[in-house]
Each structure stands twice: as C-alpha cells, then as structure tokens.
Point group: C2
Chain length 523, copies 2
C-alpha cells in the first residue's frame, strides 16, 4: 500500500461522528493494516506530519498513535529516518495469520482485553457499518463457566417434561406447526404470555399486542426499524448492554448515552431540551449496575415521552429474579398514553438457546409489528412455541422460576460470603438483591481489562465493567460476576482464583480503602 493509498483508505474509514475517539480508531486501523500485511514488514509509514495533514487530524494525535504502536511492537522508529513496520513481528504472527482464531487470541492478549470473538481479519473488505460492528463487538467466545454473566443454570431445566410435550406435538404432526409463522407468532403462546405478564409483571395487554420473536435482540431490531429512521437519536443508559448498542448502531440510530444515578436513567436539562425518538431503559433492574428506577423517575419519563411523542423501549430482561421485597411492576403497566414497547425473553428463565422472546406493543401498532415481523424475519418454530405455551399453561414455567430463584439467591449469598471471607469487612454489599450477576468495583485507577485477561489465564470468565460504558476509558473499573450458572460448591474456589487475578493486577494504595468492593444499589 503506497502512502497516498494508505491515507485514502484511512480517510474513508475514520468515522468522525463516532463516539469512539479518532486516535483509537486510527490506532486500530493501522494495527489491522499491519496484521493483514497490507503494510508489510519494513514498509515505511508516512511521517506524522504528512499523515496528520492528509487526514485533517492534529499532528499530536498521529504522534500519540505511532508511539502506542511502537510500544506494542507494531512499528519501530529511527531518529532522522522515520517510522517503519516492525521486522521483528513475533513469529506467531506469521504462523497464525492464516488461522484467524489463534491470531485473534494473541491479538486480544496483546491488548490485554477480554476474550472476544472480534478480530480484524477481513475487515478491510467490510462496509463502514460492518467494520464498526465487528471492531466494536462485545460478544465473547465463552458462554458458560464461572463467572459468565447473564447465563442461567441450564442443568436444572425440566428436560423430561419438555421432551414429553415435544414428542406429543411431533406425534400429531400438524403441518401448520411446521410451516412459516403467521405474523406475531402462535396464538396459543400469545394468550399464555398475556396471562403470565398480566399477573406477574402487571403488563396490560391483549394477546394481539404480543409479538413473538427470537429474543430481545430481534425485538429491539424490529422496534427500531419500525419506529425510527437512520440518524434518529435514541437515549441509552450509560452503562448499558453492549449487544443492543450494536443492534442500534447497525440500524443507523445515533445513541446518546445518558448517565444513570440511584434512581435510574438521569437525563440532564440539556438532554431534556432535545427529545429523542426512542428511549431504551431497564427500569426493573438497571443493566449492568442493578438499581431500580424510582417511581418519580418513571412518572417523569412517561410524561416526557407522552409530551414529546418519544417511544420508550422497556427491556425487562431478568425481572423474574428478585430475591427480597415484592416484585416490581413494569413501566408499561403505568403507561396511559401507549408510548411503551415492552420487551422480554425466556433466555434467562428457561435457557438461552431456546431463542424465544416477545414484544408487547401499543394496540395501534400491533398489526404493523405482526406484519413486519413476518415480512422481515420469516419466522417459524411454531411447534416449539406450542410446546412452550403448554409448558406455561400446565404451570411448569412458574414452578421452574420459583425453584431457580431460590437456587440463585443461595448462590448470590455464597459469592458474597466468599468475597467477605477474602477481603473482610471492607466489602460493602448493599441493598437490592436481584438478577444473575454482581458488580465488583475495583480500586480507583485499576484497568479492569487487565484483570479480565489475568482471570482468563486462570480459566475464570468475567467481563470488564468499563466495556459497558459509552467511553470505556472513562467508565469506572469493575467486574461483572455471573453466579447463576456456577454450582454452589465451585463458587468459593472460583472466587479465590479470581481474587488472585484481582490482587495481581489492581492498584493497592492502602489496604483498607482500596480493596475491591461489591457494589449494588438499594431498591
């Protein structure tokens, strides 16, 4: 790649409207070009002055990137001669360049980040939105093990009941259950869900307002495509779930991250002055921090949405698992103006691989959503929906939730005990008990991605809290620990292993003040 070709290529890829700083974008692009040999070993990199000029960047930005690349061994600088792609690329690179998975691991290790699926392989061929999606992907290779967040314990799923129902439907072999789904899903399941949501989540809806999907990702994708156009603004909580951030971005939305406080999403006066098209919130249990949106905040948000004709997407992802106090009503149930789109899924209550979720939409939107879902996704899986409907109406669903709630509550306590045991009374575990994970705050100044990488070397999977923030470099260091899928007896050992990784990688200024804290918010 010649110098001007490189500049052109970089200019096309730098996204000035992105929330990601330009220097980080530039660094990643240059790393890709080097790893993929578009910039071969020994090639001279344009001078920082020239590149800054051609890209319209501050020269200091380019210098900073070159320095970082030099530290990481991608380039070498010789005073007076210029900057060159390193000859001494580790041998593993040349060995594994054709084996993307291994290269990726090495790459992740290099960056001290968590074990991501993401890689830069082939990104040169992608579109702008595609390259951004892949480079910012948060998805992990691991989906099980201590302490994978968001994954329930699937080993206690009542498999015998499930297969009995399954076999019953297959014996009848009704052709209408094996073909494409009508818009919205199987009527039987929509009825069963309307009853369940009414009694357990105070959601007010008729079965026709329920749209069956493959999960929260598809639910949000559908809502976003039907209710917004590219360039529309959506408020997201900061921090929030990385997966939905990707879904929003790939549909052309402009996410505006809004800070959260103890009462949930907390828009400033400046934010309120610019109403967005959509608002995405987790009122029952803020993801990932865990606080509950207060009643006054709920009323404010509903009133604001009504006045400004915004749509609120209420992500009620794991509200079934609340261990103390009474269950909290949904935002949808408070909404008198028909501005709330409620989304939920069976991924946490039954098992993630099931791929059944649902939207509850205002009456006036029900038919459009049903049509669009059939048109866009051409869904099926009606036999599975029939099995699920009967599973619910026969009472297996609520009794399974009861059983798992008790089990997860216990695991949460075991984990808290293990933490107290290791770190003594400096651990603060306050209030709200809900969900499938805890947030562990790391001492100020710690880089949580280093801790995640160190834990992974010990075969412990945790996720870095900073990665849930719109700007990871400004998010507080912390770890998400999923306890739901870890058997009771494994929790203390796994926590101690994790604690070794924590102690090795975090800043310890003062023994009493700077140990990790278990952070949870009062309901």
């Amino acid at each position: 790649m010649s110098s001007s070709v490189l500049s052109d290529w970089l200019a096309q890829r730098l996204d000035r409207s992105s929330s990601q700083p330009l220097y980080r974008q530039l660094q990643r692009l240059l790393q890709s070009a080097i790893l993929l040999k578009e910039l071969p070993a020994g090639a001279r990199v344009p001078s920082s002055r020239l590149l800054a000029e051609e890209l319209g960047l501050a020269r200091n930005t380019v210098i900073q990137v070159y320095e970082q690349l030099a530290i990481e061994g991608y380039v070498t600088s010789t005073t007076g001669r210029g900057t060159f792609v390193a000859n001494s690329t580790p041998e593993e690179f040349t060995e594994t360049i054709r084996v993307p998975r291994e290269k990726d691991e090495l790459f992740a290790e290099l960056r001290g980040e968590e074990e991501k699926l993401s890689s830069n392989s082939g990104q040169l061929a992608l579109s702008r939105r595609g390259a951004r999606l892949v480079s910012e992907a948060g998805v992990s290779k691991r989906q099980l093990g201590a302490f994978m967040p968001g994954v329930p314990d699937v080993t206690h799923f009542p498999a015998r009941v499930w297969t009995r129902l399954h076999n019953k439907y297959w014996r009848r072999l009704r052709p209408d259950l094996l073909t494409y789904a009508p818009g919205g899903g199987l009527a039987q399941l929509r009825h069963a869900l309307a009853d369940y949501l009414r009694t357990s989540r105070s959601v007010r809806c008729s079965p026709e307002q329920i749209i069956i999907t493959t999960g929260i990702h598809q639910s949000v994708d559908l809502a976003v495509r039907l209710l917004s156009d590219p360039g529309d603004v959506i408020w997201t909580e900061d921090p929030c779930y990385w997966g939905l951030r990707s879904v929003l971005q790939v549909s052309g939305l402009e996410p505006r991250p809004i800070a959260v406080d103890e009462e949930g999403i907390s828009p400033s006066l400046m934010d309120l002055a610019h109403p967005p098209k959509l608002i995405l919130v987790t009122p029952s249990h803020q993801y990932p921090l865990g606080m509950v949106m207060s009643l006054s905040r709920r009323r404010m948000l509903l009133e604001y949405a009504r006045k400004n004709q915004c749509w609120i997407i209420e992500d009620d992802y794991d509200s079934e698992f609340r261990y103390t106090g009474k269950p909290l009503a949904s935002l949808q149930g408070l909404d008198g103006a028909g501005r709330v789109i409620y989304v939920g899924s069976f991924g946490k209550t039954l098992f993630p691989g099931l791929r059944v979720g649902y939207l509850v939409v205002p009456e006036e939107l029900a038919e459009s959503f049903a049509t669009a879902s059939a048109e866009l996704y051409r869904e099926g899986q009606l036999l599975q929906q029939a099995v699920l409907a009967e599973f619910i109406t026969e009472g297996h669903f609520t009794s399974h939730i009861r059983k798992m709630r008790a089990m997860y509550r216990q695991r949460r306590e075991i984990l808290l005990d293990a933490a107290a045991c290791r770190y003594g009374d400096t651990i603060q575990a306050v209030g709200s008990d809900a969900g499938l994970h805890l947030v562990l705050q790391l001492p100020h100044g710690s880089d949580d991605r280093r801790t995640v990488a160190a834990a992974l070397e010990r075969n412990i999977v945790v996720r870095a809290l900073s990665g849930y923030y719109s700007d990871p470099s400004r998010g507080p260091g912390g770890l998400l620990l999923g306890y739901a899928c870890v058997p009771d007896e494994e929790i203390p050992v796994a926590f101690n292993t994790l604690a070794d990784a924590i102690d090795e990688t975090t800043v310890r200024v003062n023994d009493r003040q700077d140990v990790p804290r278990i952070k949870a918010y009062v309901a």
Copy 2:
C-alpha cells in the same frame, strides 16, 4: 387535520428516492389518512393545485390520485365546490376500524389484491422506513393449502427419526447445547454442511466459511449490513422475491431492478457502466420465473464482480429439486476471486418452521461474519443444530430429498395434465423442470390481482406474478402455483376451481390465443 398539517405530513412521508412512483405513494398515504379518520368524513381535501404546489408535484399527478380515490369511493368531487372525504364510506369501515384484521381483509378486497397481512393500521405512528416496510409487505396470511408457492410437503417429514435424535440429545442434557451459540453455529453442523455442499452443489469451502443462520432472510440481512452502507446500490433481478426486497430496503440499500432474459440477469450497457456494491441473483433457478443462468452469463458476472469489486449474493433457495437433467453447479464453485456469498436453507428440503439456513462466505470474511452474527442476533438453538447435523451424517437428509424429489416431480406432472385437460393444447409447457411452483401466464391485459382475489374466494391460494416485479403495473399478468404441498389427488380439482376464477376474471379475446399459458424456461 388541517390542510397545511396534511401537506406537512404528506411531505414528510413521500420518499423521492423510492423506486415506487410518487403518485402511488400519495394515493396510499391519503387512503391511510381517510381510513384512520385523520381525514374525517365530509372534510374538504386541499385543491389539487394547492396540494401539488405544497408538495412540489406535477398537478396532473395529484389529479390522477384524486380521480383514483373517487373511483374507489374514498372521496367525492362536486364541480365548483371541491373534493371531500366521502360521507358514504361503507358501513363496514366504521364497524371494523377498531378490528384491524377484518378491516384489512376488506381493504385487500377493495384493492382486489391477494390476501396480505399488511394493513395501514397504526402506520401513522411508524417511521418512514417502517411505514414503507409495512405498506409494501408481501407476506401472506396463509402458509398452507393449494396452491401456496414455496411451501414443501411437511407431512412426509421423517418425524420418528427426528424425535429419536432429539430425545437422545435431551437425555444427555449438555449445557453447552442450551446456551448461546458461538459465532457461526455448531461446528458439527458446519462440517456436515461443508461435505454436503461440496458434493451436491460443488460449493468450495471449509467448515469455517459456513455461518449458520435462521434462514435466507437472516443470511442476506447479515451480508448486507456487513458489506454495504446505506445508499449503496444492489442489483436485484426483476422479477424477484418480495421478502428479500423488503430486507434490502429496510437496511437502506437502493435496489436497482435488472431485467432477466432466458439466460438470467441481463444488465444493459448502461447498467454495466455503474457498478453496484452488491448483486443478488438466483442462478440455479430464477425466482420466480425458473430459468437457469447460462454459463456465459455466469462467467460475465463473476468477471464483472472481480473487476469492479462487487459482492455477488447467490441465493440457491431450492436447487435440490431439479427433475430432469443433471444437477447444476453453483456460481460459488466457479468463482476464483472470492466475490460470491452463497446462501441456502433447509426450509424447502426439510420444513420451513425449522429456521435453519446458512451462508458460505469467502475465507477472508469468515471470522467477521461469525462475530457479527453472534453480536447482532445472539443465536442459540444448538441442540437443534446437533440433531440436524446427525440427521445429515446418518444419511436421512439425502434420502429424504430423493423421496420428495420424486413426489414433487409427479405433482408437477399432475398439475400440467390438469392444465392441459382444461385448456387443451394451447397450454405450452416447455423445458426446465425444477422447483416447487409453476408460473401460469395470463392473457395479455389481465389483472392478475383480480384473479388472485377471485381464487381466494374459492379458497385457492395463488400469488400474482406482477407483485414480484419492481413496478407491478408493468409486470406481465400471471400466477404462481405451488404444487409441492398439495396431495396428488387434490391437484386436479383444485386446478379446476382455480381455472373457474381465471375464466371469470381474465380477458378472453380469442379462444385459441388468449387462454392461460404455463410458462417455464428451457434449462
């Protein structure tokens, strides 16, 4: 709605970059406003001069729309006084306005169109892309029955083998099969598929190049989002499958319809001068007309894509069902430059509700596609994938295809015999025998949507060929008849019922020349 509010509302919704003519957009928007009582009965509609001026349209366009609305009974004109929303709206409208489904049926009947799910209910609340998606949706309420196109016979599916494998995996209860899918899907299935595609479709790939999806819709959605940006042009065949047209439009692509001839997609010199980003084709069996892309056309297309860095999406949707001659190799197998994305599904070979499809992508893109698919869709269903993999490796898949191929061939012949019986030797059935449907050409000047509506009254489901064209008003009148899901003995009776609807609704100038023709192209 005041006159200026109406103008603003219309101005926001008219999409000048759409391939749909403005007069049709305007007509649909006004119909929505009237049906939803945004323009109440008796309200005066702005004069054609005023509205044309405010919308920047030719006055004739507005006049034409008003005339059409008057014919359909939405408005009445009184000379010298102006145009008013009809007072005499049929009573059914006021009765059913709150029951979208019934209203929709009435609406569809009014327009003489086929039984669509689509309706205008709630469209006022939708975004531009959402309203367009819903109003142009092609999806049908029916998914079974004579002569529903594209649906295989699911009653012969080997349910006992399937449930045996299914129960085996549930008995083992492997947690890793019940959680989220790793990017790309289950390794076991990707291996089985790579073998199958290599031998039966001459697709050249490693298992890593295969990405498991929920079907062709998701496959194309993923490819489009990773390889193109909003505003990029995609060549589509004209006619083509309506479902994918919707998938493309909602992702911001600009479909450029390219005519097909006996050799498949046939870009003009003008088309060739403007290379698109993507090209979507059905080389093995053009959908819905059925011709096969010639070898020279394939070579031209591959060379063109290589030179101009276009991506070709090869939709190989039902290539397993070829009744005469030897199977045709895939375009992907001819591609030396890595420009082809191959997509296929098990919807036609097993059953549509299964929701398993796949992409085969060039090596350099494999990891990006795997990451993006896990990030965007958060797929699961690994237990089902394990069952499917074993179903294939145990040989049940190929033997099922063999059995169904013989059955469909026979049904095709029964249908052709029934047509010949009714219409004598004027029926021309030529050449290429493949797929799950036939195209019946209607006499010149016939409105195929009227025929579809008349057939539906007799409980026969067919689809209008014109609806597959980018401009239905210019597409030739014809019917798609799916024979695969109709038992042998029902075909002749059902065809005669259909023929009554045809005879009642089509133009008959001359007994010998203007009867329907069975149209199929020589392979």
